[in-house]
């Protein structure tokens, strides 16, 4: 299945690997507005968990423990913001990454079943791989970053202040007055 999937999607998945500033590509025309509930599959959850485990290993560091951040739930929320065709492509990409470890990676096991060292090495190969591999690995990294760093306290652990205006009692100065003349 993964090899067939790879061939089928190789030329179709260009949009998948967008990885915008925060989340993922979603290039619907405005007429198609995404707004629905999306539930990650057990496979998707496991993949994202296993990826986050090696990508953001917080144990013994000053970062907020990953176990205290709903990383995958946050990603699920991000999925709900995508239009249906993009979401489908993203899901295919996650499968490709996970199952690609079997044949493309020659591990004969899915990504989620690899050891920590194997998973790190697998990600590094995709970072330097073909265009689509670079794109998909970047998407997953950005998803995990979004899922983890969306948490305000995770930011505060590295010295980022987060929201400040309300806490600081900074008032609105309101609308600017209309110019008196047009010159």
């Amino acid at each position: 299945m993964p090899y067939k999937l790879y061939r089928r999607t190789f030329t179709k998945l260009s949009i998948l690997s967008g990885a915008s500033v925060l989340v993922l590509p979603g290039c619907s025309d405005d007429a198609v507005r995404p707004s629905r509930s999306v539930t990650l599959t057990a496979d998707e959850r496991e993949l994202l968990e296993r990826f986050a485990e090696v990508y953001v290993p917080t144990e013994g560091t000053s970062l907020k423990p990953r176990s205290e951040v709903p990383v995958v739930d946050n990603i699920e929320h991000a999925f709900a913001l995508m239009d249906a065709p993009t979401l489908e492509q993203v899901r295919i990409g996650l499968k490709l990454f996970n199952y690609g470890a079997i044949l493309i990676g020659l591990h004969f096991a899915r990504f989620v079943h690899l050891s920590v060292e194997q998973r790190l090495a697998y990600i590094r190969r995709w970072e330097e791989g073909m265009e689509i591999q670079r794109g998909i690995s970047t998407v997953i990294k950005k998803l995990v970053c979004y899922g983890y760093w969306k948490d305000i306290e995770a930011g505060r652990a590295i010295g980022y202040q987060g929201p400040v205006s309300e806490a600081g009692g900074i008032p609105s100065i309101g609308n600017a007055p209309m110019p008196k003349d047009r010159s």
Partner: protein, 505 residues
């Protein structure tokens, strides 16, 4: 606050409005045009596809802002998928979520527009009073010393050491509270976006502003658009028809949505240029790690600039000192994986940060593929060379400022460990899809302005060549990219075109 008619307030049966002018889009171009025409006594209706979100609802949280204030929840990308193209999608448009940087279009670009596109009317002398007007109206000023944070001072100091021009940046802001949350919307209304300036002024002069109302079709009669049909979508998914009959139509939906609207209506395209000539200032972020804390995200989002902005056609680039929170920090630059990534983020407060802008060529295209929009744009080889120069300049500045490591925005962690490695590392970079973590903040150029109707969509006075009563004042009309942040030039062109409309009325 702003008086806005929201979809929930529109009857289920819909709404028909009669106006002198219907303006599609409430961002930089739409808001200015609405105000200028309302000021002359015209009855103006503004249709905005995005929601109205008052500033007191801004959360100062980047992820939330992306979901609520940005086009496609911040996920609009090129067809290749390696270039996010950020635009505001809310009342006030991108002016609500930009970082307030203000520049006039470089004279060299105007000269090119005159020579290559027949825009003899757009001389610096003609445009100067329009620039002055919008700059005065929007409190544009060069950052005062207290508005230049440590990150900005490092950029200026490093640039001076290596002989690159640098200065505090100019912004449209009043009494800046230095929260660092410009791109999430200014919660305390210090940034002089359209939300607190031209839109409330237009409203005060009688303009009607509809949010959540997306223009879809035009009714046409003999080279004139006689009515615009729109759809207002409320929070429950109910869609209500809105029809606006007007003598004049201003399309100011931005460089992505404006051409799509014309394409959807198969309109205005005798030149076959609608949607073509897309440019977007593909931008890269670069971090320089220092021994001491920098806290680049504290203070003005953009504080200082470096580079040769007067020479965009000769490879000039622009660097802008700025950084936002960890969601973006972790996405702009690849810090590695595992322990490398954790240490990278733990060190983020020690990063000097800037983004690069280049004068890219108009090699892209915006079009509809069924009901899906496509933004075809890949980095041109000529622009890649400009980008490398910008990276080289940034690295030189950072090391001169005292950084001991520079992180480049590649899709796999790439660092420069000392100044003498700069050339070898930068020279090893190659152009290619999914090799860099680029972002675009400035889509432009899909409805090119020009004197020749066979080569352009918009005439020198802002009117669509093919239509007698349709004007386009947004960034889509730029015949080439600017290099600099475009908002002030958009305001200026909208003011200029408003005067052309009034002169013709």
């Amino acid at each position: 606050m702003l008086k806005v008619t929201q979809p929930s307030e529109i009857p289920d049966a819909g709404l028909t409005l009669d106006a002198d002018v219907v303006v599609i889009g409430s961002g930089a171009a739409g808001a200015v045009t609405a105000y200028e025409l309302a000021r002359s006594g015209a009855k103006v209706v503004v249709l905005e596809a995005g929601p109205y979100i008052p500033s007191d609802q801004f959360r100062e949280h980047t992820a939330t802002a992306m979901e609520t204030l940005y086009q496609d929840a911040g996920n609009q990308v090129n067809t290749t998928g390696d270039l996010p193209i950020l635009q505001g999608r809310c009342v006030g448009g991108s002016t609500v979520v930009n970082a307030a940087a203000c520049f006039r279009v470089p004279d060299q670009v105007l000269q090119n527009w005159r020579e290559q596109h027949g825009l003899d009317n757009l001389s610096p002398e003609v445009l100067a009073p329009y620039f002055e007007r919008v700059e005065r109206n929007l409190s544009v000023h060069q950052n005062d010393p207290h508005e230049v944070n440590y990150n900005g001072r490092l950029l200026i100091e490093g640039a001076q050491k290596v002989g690159i021009p640098a200065a505090p940046i100019s912004r449209n802001i009043k009494e800046c509270a230095l929260t660092g949350h410009c791109i999430s919307g200014c919660k305390t209304d210090r940034k002089q976006s359209m939300l607190v300036t031209y839109l409330p002024w237009a409203s005060e002069l009688g303009a009607t502003i509809l949010s959540g109302t997306r223009a879809e079709t035009f009714e046409i009669s003999d080279r004139r658009v006689t009515a615009v049909n729109a759809a207002a979508s409320d929070a429950n998914g109910k869609v209500k028809p809105v029809r606006v009959e007007a003598g004049l139509v201003v399309v100011a939906a931005g460089a992505v949505q404006t051409p799509l609207l014309f394409q959807r209506n198969k309109l205005g395209n005798s030149s076959d240029q609608v949607g073509r000539n897309f440019a977007c200032h593909p931008s890269l972020a670069v971090f320089g790690e220092h021994e001491q804390d920098v806290y680049a995200w504290v203070g003005a989002t953009l504080s200082a600039q470096a580079g040769d902005v007067e020479n965009p056609l000769r490879g000039g680039y622009l660097l802008e000192a700025g950084m936002v929170g960890p969601v973006v920090t972790s996405s702009w630059v690849d810090g590695g994986i595992g322990r490398d990534f954790v240490e990278f983020m733990e060190s983020a407060k020690k990063f000097q940060a800037a983004v690069t802008l280049i004068h890219d060529h108009n090699v892209g295209r915006v079009y509809l593929d069924g009901d899906r929009k496509r933004i075809e744009y890949d980095l041109d080889e000529r622009d890649f060379e400009s980008m490398r120069e910008a990276l080289r300049g940034t690295a030189r500045i950072y090391f001169a400022a005292g950084a001991h490591r520079v992180y480049l925005p590649t899709t796999r962690r790439t660092t420069i460990e000392s100044a003498d490695q700069i050339d070898s590392v930068i020279n090893s970079l190659t152009n290619g899809k999914h090799r860099y973590r680029m972002t675009s903040y400035h889509p432009q150029g899909t409805m090119r302005m020009g004197a020749d109707p066979a080569r352009s969509v918009v005439a020198p006075d802002g009117r669509c060549h093919d239509l007698d009563n349709v004007y386009i004042p947004d960034a889509s009309l730029f015949p080439s990219s600017l290099l600099v942040n475009p908002q002030v030039t958009v305001y200026t062109m909208a003011s200029y075109i408003s005067d052309r409309i009034l002169a013709r009325a």
